[in-house]
Symmetry: C2
């Protein structure tokens, strides 16, 4: 039997106890193929633990009846089996043969779930659907086997649900083994070589499948020398990982350097219109597909923060992306081409250049020029994963382009897995944002594409930077597992309530292993996590201004840290006020990159939402917010509140205590991080408040101490 949890590694949201309901029952698994085998193996393992039984049936040709006539509690079957399954009478009528909605095929990954006559049935058109259906039953637990359940069709909202690993093969002298990684080393690579712990990778693949993720990029978008060779003599390492992800329905992708033909084979150019270069990439793609037939494709960060790209050769990003797309097309691969292109050597004196504008300015004019297997991967905000940004206007600007929206599960700017910061609510807000106003499509619809997008281009899906490392809790902070889980779940169903998703995660991760009443644990975790993103926002840069962090590592406060640097991330605070004027009327014009109504809303300091005010406007400290507070008093209030909320989180966790509700080691890990969170939140409070008090001279209305 496969060990699903390597020794010493936390089970995250798939503890064996979560399979109790299935493992103590009788299950029929029907269907052929690798992923059906995975389903069977999962159930078999649960039964071995809890005394149930599983029968595996391979499909037969029509007219060849199945043997036996078993009685099952759960049927997991590829749709419309013919001849009828044994015990077919137990299968609900609505699901029997033509019984499932013919207008609603489950597609590659969907499934239908129902319960009738004492049998719970999952039917899917394709094996991956069966696997996702199984994990749905796991989430339901005992309730999957309660009263009747009308047939429910479940299909992922977006086709591609991808995690990008910013893992380096070689340890980078500055960025380490994992760029922006806060969970130890890489689970794939160590010191230039594969880590070789395939049991760990398998456990990871299983967790991802249970959350809904179906694609993984294995290396950092900043591609250094060793990583370039994943395309050539290190391809075997990639194939070995692909073999482990495959049984869980996950395709692997690679980040590639645009200059690879030059770096690897000494070609004189990487010009995307050069015939030799195009031949090189076609050959490279063919080689990769011979090793990994279901390879997903390439991820590319070009002309960005020092990475090479088509600009070097006077070509457009469409030229660059399409060249790679043509190389991949014969094999069904896609190019994820990142839109994160801006001038990172900006002159801070120049207030007309606006980093926020850059992606739109670069890419919107190219709409329609990208091949259909190019996915333009757009960060959700126009800057860089700040705790609060408006939605990127690029998302609404390219109806003829396949767009993916990129999130950051790794908490680079949201507490680096030292702070509790549950990001589900932020992602939910972004996904539900309607760039064209009420009744128009959401961001999620753009990522879904096609019909959801009112007939726009096919969608590119949702992508996120992983927060996983070789830490025993996977994510450094055990509660940061919830972000990984929520990303997958929201990518599958963007309309899901993020607090309900958190509840699911608690029910899987903690509740099955609790002794006693789980309610105190559940309520503590909700109290600590539900509002933690907004609490982190209160702790840090105010009102959407972003970046007030220590340059380089990006942890902890430094109000002026980026103020006089080339990175394009400024607040322009002086003794009178602060904020960036991005209006059309008097500023950089960024607000005009949005369609109505948002272009008008953001243009107006009165209509602009408080939380984005300083992103769009430079206002005096005394400016009265829609909330009724002045800007400077808001800064003081939120920072005092943020620090107090961190302290309250710690109090709650201490009160919960270790023992029956939380295993002592996990309790201690979280407690240690909470100590740091409290310290850090106080540092944020004092530095930000002192900075603005020194600058504005306005005392706190409540007379609290500002150092």
């Amino acid at each position: 039997m496969t060990t699903h949890r390597p020794a010493g590694v936390h089970a995250a949201w798939l503890p064996p106890e979560a399979f109790r309901a299935i493992g103590s029952r009788r299950t029929l698994v029907h269907g052929a193929g690798l992923l059906v085998g995975t389903v069977h193996q999962e159930v078999e393992q649960a039964c071995a633990r809890y005394g149930g039984a599983v029968v595996r049936l391979e499909p037969r040709t029509a007219g060849e009846p199945y043997d036996g006539d078993g009685t099952f509690d759960l049927v997991l079957a590829l749709s419309a089996p013919e001849p009828p399954l044994p015990g077919a009478a137990q299968v609900p009528a609505c699901l029997r043969g033509e019984g499932r909605h013919p207008a609603q095929p489950t597609g590659d990954e969907g499934y239908t779930l129902a319960r009738q006559g004492g049998v719970t049935v999952v039917l899917a058109d394709a094996p991956a659907g069966l696997l996702y259906g199984l994990f749905h039953v796991v989430r339901l637990g005992e309730s999957a086997f309660g009263g009747d359940r009308a047939p429910e069709l479940h299909r992922p909202a977006v086709r591609s649900r991808m995690l990008d690993h910013w893992d380096n093969v070689d340890v980078h002298p500055v960025m380490g083994q994992v760029e922006r990684g806060y969970s130890g080393g890489s689970i794939f690579w160590r010191d230039g070589a594969p880590r070789g712990d395939l049991a760990r990778v398998r456990a990871y693949a299983r967790l991802l499948a249970a959350s809904g993720v179906n694609a993984v990029a294995l290396n950092n978008v900043n591609v250094h020398a060793t990583e370039t060779r994943l395309l050539t003599d290190r391809l075997g390492d990639v194939a070995a990982l692909a073999d482990v992800f495959r049984p869980y329905g996950i395709r692997v992708h690679l980040s590639v350097g645009f200059a690879s033909p030059v770096v690897l084979d000494g070609l004189p150019t990487a010009d995307p219109l050069d015939r030799e270069v195009r031949a090189w990439w076609a050959e490279a793609a063919g080689r990769v597909y011979r090793a990994v037939p279901d390879f997903g494709g390439f991820v590319v960060k070009a002309d960005s923060e020092g990475q090479p790209g088509p600009f070097t050769y006077g070509r457009s990003h469409a030229d660059g992306a399409n060249m790679l797309a043509e190389a991949l097309a014969p094999f069904g691969g896609v190019v994820h081409w990142r839109a994160f292109v801006y001038d990172h050597q900006q002159d801070w004196r120049d207030r007309s250049t606006d980093r926020a504008r850059a992606a739109f300015d670069h890419f919107a004019p190219l709409d329609g020029e990208f091949h259909s297997n190019v996915v333009l991967q757009v960060k959700h905000g126009p800057m860089d994963f700040q705790v609060r940004e408006p939605v990127s206007p690029v998302i609404a600007a390219m109806p003829a382009t396949r767009l993916a929206v990129e999130f950051q599960v790794t908490q680079e700017y949201t507490g680096q897995q030292q702070h509790v910061c549950y990001l589900g609510p932020m992602w939910s807000e972004v996904l539900g944002f309607r760039p064209w106003g009420a009744d128009a499509p959401t961001v999620a619809a753009v990522a879904a594409g096609g019909a959801a997008y009112g007939g726009g281009a096919e969608g590119g899906g949702l992508v996120a930077v992983s927060n996983v490392g070789d830490d025993p809790y996977w994510t450094g902070h055990p509660l940061a597992q919830a972000n990984l889980y929520a990303f997958g779940r929201l990518a599958w169903e963007p309309r899901a309530d993020p607090v309900a998703v958190l509840d699911e995660w608690i029910d899987l991760t903690f509740v099955p292993v609790v002794s006693g009443d789980p309610e105190p644990l559940r309520s503590t975790l909700h109290a600590m996590m539900d509002g933690s993103w907004r609490s982190y926002e209160r702790c840090t840069a105010p009102l959407g201004i972003g970046f007030m962090v220590r340059p380089g590592h990006h942890y902890g406060p430094d109000v002026d840290g980026y103020e006089y640097t080339p990175w394009g991330t400024y607040h322009f605070a002086d003794r009178d006020g602060l904020g960036v004027d991005r209006t059309r009327a008097s500023g950089t014009g960024f607000a005009g990159q949005y369609p109505a109504p948002w272009s008008e809303v953001y243009e107006s300091p009165e209509r602009c939402p408080d939380e984005l005010l300083l992103f769009f406007h430079h206002v005096p400290y005394g400016h009265v917010l829609r909330s009724g507070s002045t800007v400077v008093q808001h800064i003081y209030d939120t920072h005092f509140a943020g620090a107090e909320e961190a302290a309250e989180s710690r109090r709650l966790w201490q009160k919960l205590g270790a023992g029956g509700l939380v295993e002592p080691a996990l309790h201690a890990r979280v407690a240690e991080r909470l100590d740091e969170q409290v310290r850090s939140a106080e540092e944020w409070q004092d530095q930000v408040n002192a900075y603005f008090f020194r600058k504005s001279g306005v005392p706190d209305a409540h007379g609290r101490r500002i150092p």
Copy 2:
């Protein structure tokens, strides 16, 4: 013949051409011993090039007359040779035998120089004096052989003139091969092993001897694991270097870690009062002296910035230093114990703790407790080698302690050898400072000790952190060689005019190799260098406040870079004013650490010198300086001026051009650094001005552009 200049390495202030006057004449070298051999070799080498001749005579016993009766232009002789030298008639009467001032022995390193009857004579009591006398003649060049010259006695003002190398044996992951090194790698170490380029070390030793330095510490005061082993299995590396320095009269010292007995031999403690620990150090010292009989001693940074020290064991710094002193005493070694002890984990909110106070608070109460072979090594200012600081009050507080004053030749805070910043005038100011007011001893007198110090303790000398690396120009910026030269010369003669010293350096380094009139070169260099320290001061943090640099590497402006950190280096700028109140009346009381009259001068914002105003006082932006300018206008004016001066330096250098006056490679190296200096000075100008304009709201009186 020894090659004195390794291939590809700049000759600095000892080009072969500087020996033309000697090398084309007839010289007699008289005396025995290693250093007399060095003198002979130097002259011999010059003669080989320029056609002169040298005769070497070993001393003979009285009554055994010398052979021959040569005629010499130059006599370099150990004093009072008996029987009289051949050609004795040519030796000026005043120097013949008893002729030299019996009341003024030359001592270990001094010499008497005179010219009479067509013979230039250098007499010395000891071989080192003969070597220093030779280099004096080199400096004089042709003028050494002009008209008569009355006897001059030259003796170094301080006994110990030492360079500390902050070189790591192993490359440190953050600090590199040389901590705060701006001249490439170490000339001693590379990647954990000796570099093995002893020709380079020999060339370095020769340069140092010509400047007057007589001691070198071979490794960083931050002693890491590998460096600890210089005391044990790596002792051979030390002995090999000592062998190269010895012929130039330079002793080697080692920085040692206080915890060495624990680190190296697993002793349970490094408590300085522990019997085993004391035995360990005695044994270690014995081992070192068996390998290097003229070893200088230990340098120790204890209880400072994370280094271990006696505080760990509840012992005083006197306990710690005296233990090492006892170990070294039998062999004549000394301990250089650094007074750089402060709390580097200070809370920035706490305005009562003052890093400037720390050295005095820690060490002044220990005056009289240190053994006589302990030298307390005190940084010249109370902070850390800022471009402007008051003189450290520790220097005036410990009359019963042997004190060394420490400078920083490496330009950590003064432009990092990217900027021209000739530090001679700063050191000269410090050395001539009279802590007890007019007519009382100077700082130089304290470092000299004994009679100079009015009968105080013996002096500890002058120490500086080296700026040398494996760069072909030794110091990165070729003009930074002047700082190395000036340190040695000012340590020998603190009353020397630093501009005259600069002139000496120009006359040695450039003039001998110039084709054509050297005046344009000389005047250009003086225009660029004479005032460059004050120009750098104008560029950077104003009015003595210090630290407005990028944390970590300390290059370039970051006004708030250290403002909210634990390092104790603050400016407290708010919308009304800036500066640190260090008065007794209302501040940290630091001003009270000085004796009168300075305690009163610094206490008063009216009497405090402008250049230190913000070090001692927090004042409004509108405060009128003694110069008549307001503080904020002074900030603007100096920063505009500093940037303009950098541009003017570049113009002058460009005008000078490459070719006959300056070799093209050197010209290009300086030109490239000047480009960076101009860029950096503009960045300083704009950041500092923008920062204070944003904060104060006061416009520039002259309407210049502040971004």
